[in-house]
């Protein structure tokens, strides 16, 4: 965990109202793992007061990137950053990461709704080459689908403007119904209703499933106890999304 004064490399609108912010962070990029996130100081003042957490979207050499859509002041300020500007970044954060290197799966099924796609390209880049990858992504409309860095993409849109007119869970269902998938494992991130549906699907089909969770955070590093997620069966009632997550095995968390 490092607090690094990074330098903005570029800000690009990669889809409708969705921005990719790249920044030079030699120290943080050194050992970042898929599923981890960074906590970014978006402005110089006291509004917004708190840092904003974002998943690592890509890590190439010294350059990390995140993607986001403008939903509030923090993301608005980030979208207005100029190349060369300083960016105070705390990372890499999270100890619960996507498990990718073990032998107990052959096929990675990536499932994302909306901006939940953010951690998946970086994940894709770190899946061992011997494994298969299929990506199922959903968005409100075609213009908001982020495909950069993904492989074997099937898409769903709420308005039917691209892919199927429906949800990623439908995609997942029809894909698994039509194909024989060897040792599958699901990696998912997205809005809560989608995650619930994916969880149910995974449980039904006995597919191991890993979720990257999101919630409002103050510190991102375990100091404030502000980001609990309820555990289903472990000894403790809550885990911290920032410190113990953000990735959890689906059956261990209840939300």
């Amino acid at each position: 965990m490092i607090q690094e004064c990074s330098a903005v490399h570029s800000v690009e609108e990669i889809a409708s109202n969705i921005f990719q912010l790249s920044f030079r962070s030699p120290s943080i990029s050194r050992d970042v793992k898929p599923g981890q996130f960074v906590n970014v100081k978006v402005g110089n003042g006291i509004v917004p007061l708190l840092r904003r957490p974002f998943s690592i979207f890509s890590a190439e050499g010294n350059i990390l990137s995140i993607i986001f859509n403008v939903v509030g002041l923090g993301t608005k300020l980030l979208s207005e950053k100029k190349p060369g500007e300083d960016l105070d970044v705390l990372g890499p954060l999270g100890s619960g990461v996507f498990p990718l290197d073990d032998a107990s799966y052959e096929t990675a099924l990536l499932v994302a709704g909306g901006l939940g796609v953010a951690p998946l390209p970086f994940l894709t880049s770190r899946v061992p080459t011997a494994k298969k990858i299929y990506s199922f992504i959903g968005a409100r409309t075609s213009a908001q689908l982020v495909k950069k860095g993904l492989r074997n993409i099937q898409s769903a849109t709420d308005d039917g403007s691209e892919g199927i007119h429906g949800t990623v869970v439908t995609l997942l269902q029809s894909f698994t119904a039509q194909h024989r998938i060897e040792s599958p494992r699901i990696y998912a991130c997205g809005p809560t209703p989608m995650m619930r549906a994916v969880k149910e699907f995974a449980f039904e089909h006995k597919i191991p499933c890993f979720f990257a969770l999101e919630c409002e955070m103050a510190c991102g590093i375990g100091l404030c106890q502000g980001c609990p997620v309820e555990m289903t069966n472990s000894g403790k009632k809550f885990s911290l999304v920032c410190k113990d997550g953000p990735v959890f095995e689906a059956s261990t968390v209840s939300f």
Partner: protein, 313 residues
């Protein structure tokens, strides 16, 4: 320049502390922040048994501040003793154990368990806790309970005993006086202010417990007034707390009467804030030929002597 702060025989290396609940037990960020460069850590409030804390959501941002309702999630005093104290052994900052409880007996038990441990330099008592015997009314708003808790704990320790006061009362000076009268070595002013926020789309409160505690720069003016009120009421030292984000903020607190300061919410933004602030204070003193911060304490120059409660606004 003398930066150190002496409290009941314990010398803290400087006057900047990290506030309870905003720095865990210190070990989480030991790799990120040099724990030997500020005065001391007020630990997350410790209760007798571990506490899971409140359900999510527990925090939300507000204008220049934040609300929290952590529910005093903590590992419990025994685990603190067994697992955290050993980790902190090598660091130079002071360790002040902050204690929370739901009965006077529990306060005493937690303190008794901690008192023998050398690494524990003192105690800060969080009285902003619900008194289960009184239907959950906060101890901190009942001056008799604050007296009683202080009295009972004073009997049980020779180490520095600091009572942390809630600002959610009419006259904080009464509570400061009560703590002083029962032998407290210092008071901490202030804990968070009761606040709330609503998500207008879902119509739900933004915290699971409806209300929570407001902290951050937004509350600094209120905290300064509470410290000033306490300073005019008692002789024991005051830890000034509330919205401190810069060394200039800390100087303001010294000037109104704080002998030391605690840095809270801003740790979430910059975990090393307390060090930056301690260094800023040292620089300021050097530049202004101030050889001891003690000389700043209460050194505000007011033309008029208007009390906190009397002015027409």
């Amino acid at each position: 320049m003398n930066e150190s702060f002496l409290l009941k025989g314990v010398r803290f290396q400087n006057r900047v502390f990290v506030a309870s609940g905003t720095f865990g037990y210190g070990d989480e960020v030991a790799g990120l922040v040099d724990l030997s460069k500020f005065g001391g850590i007020m630990t997350k409030s410790l209760s007798l048994k571990p506490r899971d804390g409140n359900p999510p959501p527990r925090i939300t941002e507000t204008p220049s501040g934040m609300l929290n309702s952590i529910g005093l999630a903590n590992i419990g005093v025994r685990k603190f003793i067994d697992e955290k104290i050993p980790l902190l052994r090598t660091h130079r900052c002071g360790i002040v154990a902050n204690i929370a409880a739901s009965s006077v007996e529990e306060y005493c038990s937690v303190l008794e368990l901690l008192d023998p441990h050398k690494r524990v330099d003192g105690f800060e008592i969080n009285v902003s806790c619900p008194n289960v015997k009184e239907g959950g009314l906060s101890f901190g708003t009942d001056v008799k309970m604050v007296s009683r808790i202080t009295r009972e704990l004073r009997k049980r320790t020779k180490k520095p005993l600091i009572v942390k006061l809630t600002p959610n009362v009419t006259h904080i000076s009464e509570f400061a006086r009560a703590a002083e009268a029962e032998g407290a070595d210092a008071v901490s002013v202030i804990n968070t202010l009761i606040g709330m926020a609503i998500n207008i789309k879902s119509r739900k409160p933004k915290l699971s417990t409806v209300t929570g505690g407001l902290s951050g720069p937004a509350i600094k003016p209120i905290a300064l007034a509470k410290v000033f009120e306490a300073f005019n009421a008692v002789k024991i030292p005051i830890f000034g707390i509330g919205g401190i984000a810069t060394w200039e903020d800390a100087i303001e607190f010294f000037l109104v009467g704080a002998s030391a300061v605690q840095v809270g919410t801003i740790n979430f933004v910059n975990p090393g804030a307390s060090i930056d602030i301690a260094e800023g204070i040292a620089r300021y003193c050097a530049e202004n030929s101030i050889d001891d911060i003690a000389k700043l304490v209460g050194a505000m120059k007011a033309d008029t002597a208007v009390s906190v409660i009397q002015s027409w606004l």
